[in-house]
């Protein structure tokens, strides 16, 4: 959680950058209001800017979509898939909900934390490589336990397999 402060307002980045311009306009054209584009555009922005939405990006997106930046902050902290804090180079989601828990997600979580050299989930490991996140049900229950590495689903994961997967990331 980020306590709001009264420090100098962040300098908004120019959003959207050239690469995203077309895609952003495409997204905007789908909805009757600009606000409705918040969710997909934030996902896009997060992907583009090192896998997290910094206050500067937040301000840039807010300006582009004509909403208050506090609204964007509200979205970032409401939806589990956004990172409002610097994320590592790779993001690992470990499902912790009932089915995956029954199938051994607890061990996976410990393995992931070990590989990431992080103390708790939601924090970037010491070497800044991984961010391990506890996620609620990922919808892969029949092939539990499930893990997402950088947005890609891996199913029937064992601790050995997860270690392999994480070591394969550079």
């Amino acid at each position: 959680m980020i306590p709001p402060t009264n420090s100098a307002p962040p300098v908004a980045v120019q959003f959207p950058p050239k690469e995203l311009k077309k895609e952003c306009e495409d997204i905007l054209s789908r909805y009757p209001t600009r606000m409705a584009a918040c969710l997909p555009i934030l996902l896009l922005a997060q992907k583009h800017y090192d896998n997290w939405v910094s206050p500067e990006v937040e301000a840039g997106v807010a300006e582009y979509l004509g909403v208050s930046d506090s609204h964007i902050r509200g979205l970032l902290t409401f939806y589990a898939m956004y990172n409002a804090k610097p994320a590592g180079r790779h993001e690992v989601w470990v499902c912790r909900t009932l089915t995956c828990m029954l199938r051994g997600a607890g061990k996976l979580r410990d393995t992931a934390l070990g590989c990431a050299k992080a103390k708790t989930t939601g924090e970037v490991g010491e070497d800044g490589k991984f961010l391990v996140k506890d996620m609620e049900c990922l919808g892969l229950c029949e092939v539990a336990p499930a893990v997402f590495v950088d947005g890609e689903a891996h199913v029937d994961v064992t601790p050995e397999k997860l270690t392999e997967l994480m070591e394969a990331c550079d």
Binding site: M1, P55, S70, T77
Partner: protein
Amino acid sequence: MGDAVNTIFINGTEYPFKPGQTVIQVAQENGIDIQHYCYHPGLSIAGNCRICMIEVEGNPQPQISCKLDCAPPPWIKEPLRVQTESEVAKQGREGTMEMLLVNHPLDCPICDQAGECHLQDYSYEVGQGQASTTTAKTKLPKNVPFGSKIVYDAERCIKCTLCVRFCEEITETNELSMQGRGDEEMVVMTSKGEFDTPYSMNIIDICPVGALTSRDFRFKSRLWFMDFANSIDTSSAKGVNIVTGGRNGTFLRIEPRYNASINDWWMADEGRVAYKYVNSPSRLETALVRDADGQFRVANWEDAISAAAEALRSNPGDILLDGGCTLEEMVLAKDLAGAMGKNAKFAAATGEGDGWLVTEEKGANAKGAELLEVARAKRAQAASVLVIEREEHVNASMREKSGAVVVFATDGEHVPESAEVVFPLPSWAEREGTLVNIDGLAQWMERNPAIGPNNLPVFVEILEDLIGELDDDYAWRGADGVRAEIAALPAFAKVALPWQTETPVGAGS
């Protein structure tokens, strides 16, 4: 449809309702108190605090009354029957209260809201008196600045979102939003600039708990030591209804008061902090008379009045009034000027307005002066009597140029060189009288006895005494006599005067 149901039974009594009204509105109109946090008559209905539970007969679960339409569903032809004090309703409220207090800190001793806190009041009414949990409370940021005027405490916050809705719906500036989810939810402010909009401080009033407190009033005084009076904001000519609060002579706080025809529930921040000069250390407390060697000495009222009459006899001139003077004061000032064969004028500043509660005209009674045919003073107005309360109405150069010999001033700093006799003027919060706002609505301004120095003379009485000194035939009328005279004036034929109507204009809940 024809015979649509248009009544509702609350606690067994039938009340009529207008289409679209919810149960809580009808209950409030009829004096039935239903506890609520997130409901505010001026904002949209969120229905998230869940404390306004009532029982709807035939429904085993309690329902929230703030969103419950009085009209039954179209297939039911019977009026709705609700109970506000039944077991089901009480149990519903108790359950919610317990939840509200799970993570609410035991902050009351340090919280400014204590004494006017709805959570305190309602937990006293329906709370269990004992916590059923020993688990640690959720830790959230405390003491978060929301701009320079407001402090936010996320632990005390009950997430009713009134402040967020205020910024969305009333000011339409959207500075606030909710952040996080679950029990880590809290209000977050925009990081763009400061949350210092002209109406930001209203969120302090609507906050039902002590989550939003005023930086200005922070830790100044406990509520129960203070005295309150229903007054009128004199920082602009809109006539915003307010409540003044003071203790031991110190003016501590201004809060808005409901008036549907002027300000609803709101007021501008500008008016809210326009009381500081009342607490000035250089406030005048005694009458001063200049003696032979040119020094001021303290005089008693009789001496000061005769000295003032002497000065006016040898130096007759116009009277320059502060634009915030009441109708009564203006009438008497006119008479005083008449006794000298001169005129009364008023001075008032103009500034920026916002088309809502801040007017360009800053003289609170400028409209009243117009009705009484008291003219606006020129920039350099020669006068023998000067009544000055607010610096901005009669600035330093105007004061010096007036050459006034008798001066009524709140602040010793405002007395011009030429003054021979100086009377201490009670500030607007210490005077009572009638003001006419820019839309022609006459309103009563109440005196707050807990503000200002002790034993100040009543301004209208001094004025009358002065007239009596100058005019031997003068018959004392008293403030009531003056008011009767005002009511008889043709200019006021169409103005509803507050002391004439049984329920004063603008009185509201």
